[in-house]
Each structure stands twice: as C-alpha cells, then as structure tokens.
Amino acid sequence: MLKRTEDSLAQISFSRPHNGSLLITIAGEWRLGHEIPSVDEIRKEVGTGLQVKQVSFDAQELKGWDTGLLTFLINVIDFCSGRNIAVDKAGLPQGVQRLLVLASTVPERKDTKLAAVRVPFLDRVGNLAVAFWRGNLEMLEFMGEVLAASARMLAGKARFRLADLFIIMQECGVQALPIVSLISILVGLILAFIGAIQLKIFGAQIYVASLVGIGMVRALAAVMTGIIMAGRTGASFAAQLGTMQVNEEIDALKTFGISPVEFLVLPRILSLFVMMPLLTLYADLMGILGGMLIGVSMLNLNFMEYYNKTREAVSLNDLWVGIFSAGVFGILVALAACLRGIRCGRTASSVGEATTSAVVSAIVSIIVAMAIITVLCHILKI
C-alpha cells in the first residue's frame, strides 16, 4: 500500500500580496481518491478581511495532479464568477490551464436537464389506461394486418420466400424434437406416478393408462408443447424480428414496398400452425410411453395390457381436441412473438424486453385459450 507522507497531502494556503488580491498556494498531490481541500476554505477566506477582487494561483509546490485538481479548480472558478471575482490562471501548470479552457469552450446547455415532474396518481392511472388501450389497438391492428396478409396468401398473392418457410419449419419442428421428447416423457411419467399412488389404494392401477392417455392426448401434450414453443421458438422469433428492427432491416423491407407482415410474420405463423399439431401428436406418444414406463416397471402391468387400456380409454374426439388446441396455440405463440418483435424499439435492451414480453404473452394466451377450449368442449359435449 502506498504510504503517503505529510508532503504528499493536498494542501492550500492563502496570502494577500496586494489589496483586493488573494493568492492561493497549491501544494502536494491533488489526485482523485486523496483527501482534497474543499472550496469552503476559499469561501471562508474570501469572507474574512478585505474584499477580494482577484484570485491567482501559485502551483510551484504542486507534486502531482489529475481530475481531482481540475474539479476543485472548476468549483473555485464557479464560486468566483458568482461573486464577480476575477480568476488569474497563469500560475497553474500549462496542462491544467489547457484542460480548463477545453472544459469551458462549449458552455453547459441549460435545456438538457429532464424536468423531474411528479405525476399525480390519477394522471398515472390515466396514462396506464391509455397505454393499455393503445396496446390493445396495436394488437388489433397487427391481427388485422395478419388476416389481410393471410387472405392474400390464400389468393396466392402473398410475397414471401418458400425457402424461408421450410427453414423456419425445420427450426421449430424437427429441431424441437429432443426437448419435446424429454418434457413429454417426463410429464407422462409424473402423471402416471402421481396417479399410481392414489389408484393403487383401490387396486385400480390399470386406470393409470387411461389417466395418462386422456390427460396427454386431450390437453397436456398440447399445453406442454405450446409452452416449450413459447419459450424456444417464440423467444427466437421475437429476438430475430427485434434485431432486424434494430438493424433497420425491416425499414429496408418497407421501403422496397415489401410488407414485413407478409415477408416475415406469415411464414412464421404458418410454420408454427403446421408444426404444432405434428409436435403434439409426437408428444402424445412420448407421454404415453412415459406413463407406460411407470406402469410396467412399478405397477406390474404388462405392456399389452397397458396398450389396450390406453386404446380403450382414448377416443378420437380427445385426439381432435388436442390437435385443434395445438393449432390454436401455434398461431397464438407466433402472433405474440411476431407482434413483440416487429414492434420492438431500436436498442439492444428493447430486444430483450420484446423477447420477455413475447414469452409471457404467449404462455398467458395459451393458458387462457386452453380454458376457453375446455369450457367450449364441455358446453358442446365433445
């Protein structure tokens, strides 16, 4: 550790060579982090004795300096200009003089400070309500654009690259298989395990197959795949489109007369709409396999017994409900992700916000849609 001697302390002393003149002698090391005298000492000195009209400096005993000395001197100059006291900088080192000139070349702009306005509570509530309403309008506008683009696609007039569509399908379909497999097997396994504990009490272990089969095929496979897609593909869509916004790539599309909704959003919605039901079918099988692992290994059921019970319990209606839900979730995830991505701001942090918001909105909309579908199925007796 650096040992500081008395000599290296930042010090000031005062003398009055002439009437109305104050000479400030600066000595020692004036560096940031060291103890530096305060401007108050000058204020006190100026306040006592004869009126001071000019301040000058003697820096012959100055051992070293950095920004610490500069900030002190700027404070002294500010103080003196407030009292109409002239400041003679000739006694300061050349470097210090040059930096002081540089710091005062461009005067401080007074209109740059953001006014700290305290917004009343009712104003804040009002602003939030307006923002919420605008958000909804934005979403409706976006959905309208997507509907119009879909109509153009059905009429064969939409402009996007088929190659992009296939690449996105591959990314959100085939490449998602490992994670969908893992999650679905585990969900089937957990469902069977929890069911087995209860059903074993009544000697009804065989119904584990029905529980897992119906649970997975009708709802859980679609919901779990939807959530995986929201976290994996939805986040990726939002980040891709958000980054394109930051890099002005979306502006470039617009100015070439290419609709970003047609060119970027449509292939993504189409990909998820097609791949989600397929992934859900796959998740159904994986979930049933997970349940079967528990059934065969822990409940002493044999493979054929489990298989037959599953076939008996699961109806085609269950399958259609699951597939339909998956299609809906696919559209919702893609819509939420693309909306957030395309409306993203132009900074790196706004890409992060868009991604987070995309995942949250997608998951919430999946759960809400699942609830609506379940109630509708109950009413329609499906």
């Binding site: 402009r159 890099n247 002005e248 100015t255 007369g257 290419i258």
Partner: protein, 269 residues
C-alpha cells in the same frame, strides 16, 4: 433524328433538370412531444446531389426517414413532383417509393440472405427476369461497388465498408430515380470513403439519378454536393441551404462557417 428533335429533347432534359423533384414545405418533425426540427422548407432538383448536413443528433436521419416514408411528419408536406407524399393514397405512395433506392446507415442488409439474395430479392419481386438474367444483374451491381465474387457471402462475413457497398448495390438494383444515402462514408477509412464518393458521383452521372445524402463528413460534402441544407440542433431548424461551396464562401453566420470549416471559422476571422 432531326436537329429540331434533338434540340427539343435537349430542352426537355434541361427543363426536367430545373424542375423541383422533391419539395419540403414547412416540415416539422418530432417524436411525440419532443420537437426535433421545425419549419424545414427546401427544394431538391432533378439530378441534384443534395446533402442533408448538421451536427450529430440534430435529426438528419430522422428527416431522411420522413422523406422516404418511414415516419409521418408532425406538420408540413413532402412533395414528389406534384404529389404530396403523406396525403396520397397508399397505392400512390407505394408507386413513389418504388422510385427510391435507399442505403441505410448500417447497410441494413437482410442478415439471413446472402449478398446475391439481398440484391436479387427486389428483382425477383418486381421484375420478370429469368434466373440467368437476375444472376447477371447481381453480378453487374456487385461489380459496380467492387464486390464481384461475393455473391455467396452472408452480411455477417463482411467488413463495415463492404456492407455499405453491398447496401449501395441493393439500393440501386432497380435503377431508382432517387437515391437516399444515410452516412454512406462514415466509419470508413479515407480511401474507402473517397471511393464511395467517387462511386456516388459516377452513379449520379450514369444513372441520371437524384441523390440525397445525409452526412457530416466535410470531405464528402464538398466532393459530391451541389445543393444542401444545414440543420442545427439548438435552433431546431435549418440555418442554411444552397451549394456548400457557396455557403462557405459567402456565409457570415459563425455556426455555418464553424460547421463547414471544422470549427476553424474563428481562426479564419
């Protein structure tokens, strides 16, 4: 062709060159309540190389976004010929925009496409050229900007200067009537910047395009500009317009002189 016919064509070309191509009338640009520039009024003639100049953060790029239809003005008009861009029907706006070629500050190349695909996309969408013809056009445009042979490269594999040149190739792929260039030579080494300036002049001469450039690079301003507007961030409006060399020679306003002499105006006085 007879002498009189030749003369008529020549006269017509001269008339066209003096006709206002773009007119900006009393334009105010703002982000919500935050005013950026107000009362902007200037004219860009056909064949001009028009410079939008000003210090950093004064709203040059924002003004460009208003000219190319990416941002609606708070007040005022942008006229292309006789048509007020923002009052026109969407189809009319799209027709006007089809005549634009835009180079964005970052190049804004579509990152998932190769250079060749970037240049080819507008051609595939708006022309009926065969695959071979498209390849030929791509090759031509890329060689014009010194990037022949880079068709298969992705934007991420290129340097900043190469991205800008590729962006320029894409901007001129449909032979636009107006080229908008946002900071075409900023961030480039002096030789690359000089080459870009030369390229812009060459393109203006050969394509007969009107070129609108946003820049604060003095070398480029004097090398290529024959008309300009100077925006000021403190006054929040334009403080000068005209040929940059004439401004430098005749203007007395220290803000203009300081800008055009890299702050050496005071020394000159």
């Amino acid at each position: 062709m007879s002498y009189t016919e030749n003369l008529e064509i020549e006269m017509q070309e001269k008339m066209e060159k003096t006709q206002p191509h773009i007119m900006v009338k009393d334009l105010t640009i703002a982000y919500g309540d935050f005013l950026i520039q107000r009362n902007l009024t200037f004219t860009i003639k056909k064949g001009d190389t028009f410079i939008i100049m000003g210090g950093s953060g004064c709203g040059k790029t924002t003004l460009l976004r208003h000219l190319v239809g990416l941002q609606r003005p708070a007040k005022g008009q942008v006229l292309y010929g006789e048509v007020s861009f923002w009052d026109a029907e969407p189809e009319e706006r799209e027709r006007i925009m089809m005549n634009f070629g835009i180079l964005y500050q970052s190049g804004a190349l579509w990152s998932s496409l190769t250079l060749g695909e970037n240049v080819a996309l507008p051609l595939n969408l708006y022309t009926d050229l065969s695959a071979d013809q498209v390849r030929e056009v791509i090759s031509l445009k890329l060689s014009l900007v010194g990037l022949a042979g880079f068709e298969e490269y992705y934007p991420s594999e290129l340097s900043g200067g190469m991205k800008k040149r590729a962006g320029l190739a894409r901007a001129m792929v449909l032979d636009p009537g107006i080229l908008f260039l946002d900071e075409p030579s900023s961030g480039l080494d002096p030789i690359s910047a000089y080459l870009i300036d030369e390229l812009i002049l060459e393109l203006r001469e050969s394509l007969g395009a009107t070129v609108v450039i946003v820049t604060h690079e003095l070398a480029s301003i004097f090398a290529v500009g024959n008309n300009s507007v100077l925006l000021d961030s403190e006054a929040k409006t334009m403080i000068a317009s005209g040929d940059p060399r004439t401004l430098l020679a005749n203007e007395k306003d220290p803000r203009i002189i300081n800008f055009l002499t890299r702050g050496r105006g005071a020394q000159r006085e």
